[in-house]
Symmetry: C2
Subunit: 432 residues, 2 copies
């Protein structure tokens, strides 16, 4: 092992909600951390866009650098990257740190999902740690659990609710009976959704980055780049939530990663789950990860997924790990031993489907739909037709038996041209 100093200099780049909270926690918990690890720590450099922005916790302006790359004028041992870009300055500053043999800790899932392979290789080459526990499910130390606690298990599947914003919105729509836009505004006001651009949470991108990181750890593969089914919750209407409710179902945005026939299948999409299941009762901003492995069976991990508190908890656990001298491979095993894995063909992903059609209330419309389904061998489990006489419309909800993606896509495409169908059907997959 490498001989180390007993004292570690720390830099934080990015002083938004997370970075600023972390800065404060580091100051408050300095003594506790030093007691538990026997090492000294000192924040020697901080950087952000705006030195004089009003922040919740006061910063020491004497160690502030306007240009983040200037922090390297100081001797630094550990860098916290809390800017959060998937590339750009986030990537630049992390690469530079690793090359200078500086440990890096980041909650930046976008960066790791995109460049994690190369960055981990760089860390390995320079014999420093690249840690990103906070990038997935803040309050749950799930990455360390996979890398260490469950290290010898053969994991077959890992899935869960990986985005607190969307889970809050779906829960709140159900509880308050308010529509998507109204609840989104509420989420923004409460700080659960980005005020300026909540898109990356809503469209599944954020959850997908986490799925890719979880896959890489669980299955020891390189981060996959393949195109997968990624759907967000933007098209879920209050109406769907109400109908699901009647069917004892609940809409959840699930991230799923699974090995099927030795191929990797990753997806993020809304699912209808039974209200009596565990996952159906993870509500609000909570995150949950469910892991199926051998010999442990099924394990469940639930906790707050977002917010500076839980994120900071994970950032500091990474710090403790480094201070204790635990030199780990970022993805659990040496870079050279991580496999490239073939992707499962999405076309053959099969599910029961919930299809909601808004149609003109005319004779023959329902049969034109069911005939089309029959033609594609999609058998119907249940039909609920609700007329809206005033507007001469009807809502038709069909729950199908299992069918493949390719089959349902082909089958449904025709309805775009059907004049009696007012809206292309809303499709939500049922969780198997």
């Amino acid at each position: 092992m490498i001989k180390r100093n007993n004292s570690f200099n720390i830099a934080i780049v990015g002083l938004g909600q997370i970075g600023n909270y972390l800065y404060n926690e580091l100051n408050i918990k300095k003594k506790q951390i030093e007691k538990k690890t026997g090492k000294k720590i000192k924040i020697v450099a901080i950087s952000a866009k705006n030195k004089n922005k009003k922040r919740k916790f006061k910063i020491n302006k004497n160690i502030f650098f306007s240009n983040p790359l200037d922090i390297y004028k100081k001797k630094i041992d550990i860098l916290f990257e809390t800017i959060g870009l998937s590339g750009g300055i986030s990537k630049k500053i992390v690469e530079k740190a690793l090359k200078k043999k500086i440990h890096v800790i980041t909650p930046n899932k976008a960066l790791i999902a995109k460049h994690g392979d190369n960055l981990s290789k760089l860390a390995e080459k320079n014999k420093v740690n690249l840690e990103f526990e906070a990038s997935v499910a803040g309050g749950i130390p799930i990455l360390r659990t996979i890398k260490e606690g469950l290290a010898t298990n053969q994991i077959k599947k890992i899935y869960g609710i990986l985005n607190g914003t969307t889970n809050y919105i779906l829960s709140e729509m159900e509880n308050s009976n308010e529509n998507f836009d109204k609840v989104l505004q509420k989420a923004q006001k409460l700080g659960y959704a980005e005020p300026s651009n909540p898109k990356l949470d809503l469209n599944g991108f954020d959850a997908f980055a986490k799925v890719r990181i979880l896959s890489a750890l669980a299955f020891n593969n390189k981060i996959s780049k393949s195109n997968c089914i990624m759907e967000g919750i933007e098209n879920i209407e209050l109406k769907d939530i109400r109908i699901a409710d009647q069917l004892n179902l609940r809409v959840k945005l699930l991230g799923i990663s699974e090995i099927i026939n030795n191929q990797l299948f990753e997806t993020v999409h809304p699912c209808l789950v039974n209200k009596n299941t565990y996952i159906g009762n993870v509500n609000g901003v909570m995150n949950a990860v469910i892991l199926q492995g051998k010999p442990i069976g099924e394990s469940i991990f639930q906790g707050e997924g977002a917010g500076p508190g839980p994120t900071s908890s994970s950032l500091l656990s990474d710090l403790m790990s480094i201070l204790r001298g635990n030199i780990n491979y970022s993805f659990g095993i040496p870079f050279g031993k991580r496999k490239s894995i073939k992707s499962f063909n999405n076309n053959y992903y099969t599910n029961s489907l919930y299809l909601r059609f808004e149609v003109k209330d005319k004779p023959g419309v329902l049969s034109s739909i069911t005939n089309r389904l029959a033609k594609f061998n999609i058998s119907v489990k249940r039909i609920i037709q609700t007329p809206d006489k005033k507007n001469k419309r009807a809502t038709i909800v069909i729950i199908t038996h299992k069918t493949s993606e390719i089959n349902s896509k082909k089958c449904l495409s025709i309805f775009k041209k059907n004049r009696n169908i007012i809206k292309f059907p809303t499709l939500i997959r049922l969780y198997n």
Copy 2:
């Protein structure tokens, strides 16, 4: 860091269900472990009472020692202690290993709960690891999560279902409508309960050992020795489970550890929990641990609690940790920094109570009970009286508002002498 050999010799003492499974897993996963850690491992010594007993997995008799202390004739780096006694040869062999600078891994909660402080001190002195992840909630790496993943959180409370045997029995009584004795037999047949002496599971002793270990890790205190409320499930009758069911409640054996007024409160007893809660839906052999901390909020960990598979998963995670060179303090911080903590006085523990009286069906019996409760300021939330006319008896169930242990004990004592009360009341606390 200490310079180490690249090759580790392993001994296993105790080849029962756990030890034998572990022996097989080590052989199967040798290559995987070596790949992930870059270290070589070799089982060089095994020991058990009976060399020729029929075992599920065949052992190499060439490395078998009848006297466990003879294993030290070989050069050993890591010892697995899987005998399971709270003292005796288990203690002796672990002490000897630590003194010889041999790392020790054990799932033995009884040993750790009783002698963990001294053993961890010994490990620290000799600069080796004493690891016991498998001692609590086998399939859930909860100890490592507290020590590492949540290291900088301030934990306030930790509780859960820590014994799979009792949870299986309670679930199965509810599902099958069979009485305690019958379900216990079923549990023994399925291998969930000890065939010869299931007492330590049933009376709460096993769960209590786990509570003591969790407390020590969560609150950084030395293992407490104080007398606490420890009740098992032996007195829970099918009748109670049925009545609870009607009240939308479920009986669970909970282990609870909490800091109240800077004092440590630890307990194990059956609780009535709401069926709509998370903990109310952890059924069968599952274990669950719920942790409340700052800043993470509430985190939940669920997994299979017992059986050789999950236990072995944790034993191997400890092995990986040692092979990677992670030298940790057994309880997260140096022995000298762990506090002795005062115990909370059980008398002031308060709960709502479920009281079931079996009485003679005579006028005045109910009022004699309610008068007595009133005298002790125990106010009644709900009364359910069910007559059994044939036998001239009645069942009276009373749900009270909150009252302290000392108060309820004083209040109820008189009923022992009441001739109209056929059975001293069954008391189950409601979970707050």
